[in-house]
Amino acid sequence: MKEEINEAPEAHENDSSFDSSKKRKVVVPGEIIVCGEDFLPGEGTRREGENIVANKFGLAEEQGRVIKLISIFGAFVPRRGNVVIGRVTDITHAGWLVDIDSATSGFLPIEESPRFINRNEMDQYLAIGDVISAKIWSVKSRGIDLTLKGKGLGKLENGFIFNIIPSRVPRVIGREGSMVNLIKERTGCNITVGQNGWIWIRGSSIDEEIKARKAIELVSEKVHLGGLTELVENWFEKNE
């Protein structure tokens, strides 16, 4: 049931830029990426006179005329539409508080569960400590609202969770989910990737689960390289 690939639309955008043919380099804040009026500053960059300058530490890429900068370290910044994996930390009269490993915790209102829940028996549906995959419904200054209405969302049972650096999630998912689908095919595991860097894996055997985890960690470590799909294919050949 949870075979859905959980990725936000921007994951595709990010990843389409990861063609191995594209020029990519590591830049530090304040460093000049390119010089010339022909280029346009994209995400994470700014114009300073003739130059396009980096606004943070990460990988800079040319996409036609636009220069984009993608972080490879750092904390998760929640956005609307992100699917995240979190843990229930408290039950209130109106819903559940969920720790999603970001600046503010998420709130899941009782109305946002896919079926009717009796207010007196909320802990029978989700108890404190349960792990869920949920979608971010809204991000406001007072907090983050979550929903469980959607394919592949809900309580995660069995299997295990682990985390990677959140800014590397788009590459783990791959374009149109290509990377995570490859890992699913090769290991036969169910995998849910949260945009907050938490990943849930459930397979038929613990060996398969560990293999999937290792493959994901490989992708996360080699995030700055091109041709990752090949690299992972080769890794699977070697570890068959």
């Binding site: 590591v26 370290f73 750092g74 904390a75």
Partner: protein, 240 residues
């Protein structure tokens, strides 16, 4: 000209610099910076929710620094915990780094920096600022530029850079002057200026020129340490 300095350095020569990024796996960003025997580490956490609530700023995130000399960092044990000097340095460090940061994307949050001096031989605040600037970049926080910091000064009439404790305690002639500053690496903007002792206006201008030239060496060390962390490590993850 032969050097008059106790360790045989030229007047405009810095002590050997050591810079490393990603030394604390639990932090969102971390770095080590050393001027000779002065050794500082910095860890960045956040952006995360700010408590107490009355300190929250709905327009922007805020920066909070904590600087501490560890009790074994000096030859005579110092009492651990905040004292007048540590509080002052925490505050000036915060002011030295804040102009480089842009936290408008993270309202109501805080970025915490912890700076610890493992070994002190003068110039601890400057080593701390250099480490903190690298750690902030490592945490993927939007920044205008890296911050470079250096202590310059004067022994009698000799203008010198990067004073050691022995040089700071020099008493002959005009005595010692210690001038700590921080600047944005690629801009002529100073974010910290502090001075102990006396200096003639002409000498000050000369000293400023010497210091700005020496900042390049610090900047290069910071830059190469940040770039190295991408190539060597990616394993620095798995926070929990």
């Amino acid at each position: 000209m032969t050097s008059k300095r106790p360790d045989g350095r030229k007047n405009d020569e810095l002590r050997p610099i050591k810079a490393e990024v990603g030394i604390i796996p639990n932090a969102d960003g971390s770095a080590l910076f050393a001027f000779g025997d002065t050794l500082a580490i910095a860890a960045v956490y956040g952006p995360k929710k700010l408590h107490p609530q009355h300190m929250q700023n709905p327009a922007t995130g805020i920066l909070r620094c904590n600087y501490a000399l560890l009790s074994f960092s000096v030859s005579e044990r110092i009492r651990p915990g905040p004292n007048r000097r540590a509080k002052e340095i925490s505050k000036v460090t915060e002011w030295a780094l804040a102009p480089a940061l842009d936290l408008k994307a993270f309202p109501n949050t805080v970025v915490d920096i912890e700076i610890y001096i493992l070994q002190a031989d003068a110039g601890t605040r400057t080593a701390g600022i250099n480490a903190a600037s690298m750690a902030l970049a490592h945490a993927g926080i939007p920044m205008k530029d890296l911050v470079c910091s250096l202590a310059a000064g004067k022994n009698d009439k000799e203008l010198i850079l990067d004073l050691t404790k022995t040089e700071e305690d020099y008493e002959e002639g005009e005595g010692a002057t210690d001038f700590a500053f921080a600047k944005l690496a690629n801009h002529d903007e100073f974010t910290l200026l502090q001075m102990d002792g006396k200096i003639q206006p002409e000498s000050f201008i000369e000293l400023k020129k010497m210091s700005i030239a020496a900042c390049d060496e610090i900047y290069e060390a910071q830059k190469s340490a940040l770039k190295k962390v991408v190539e060597n490590n990616g394993t620095e993850n798995n926070k929990k």
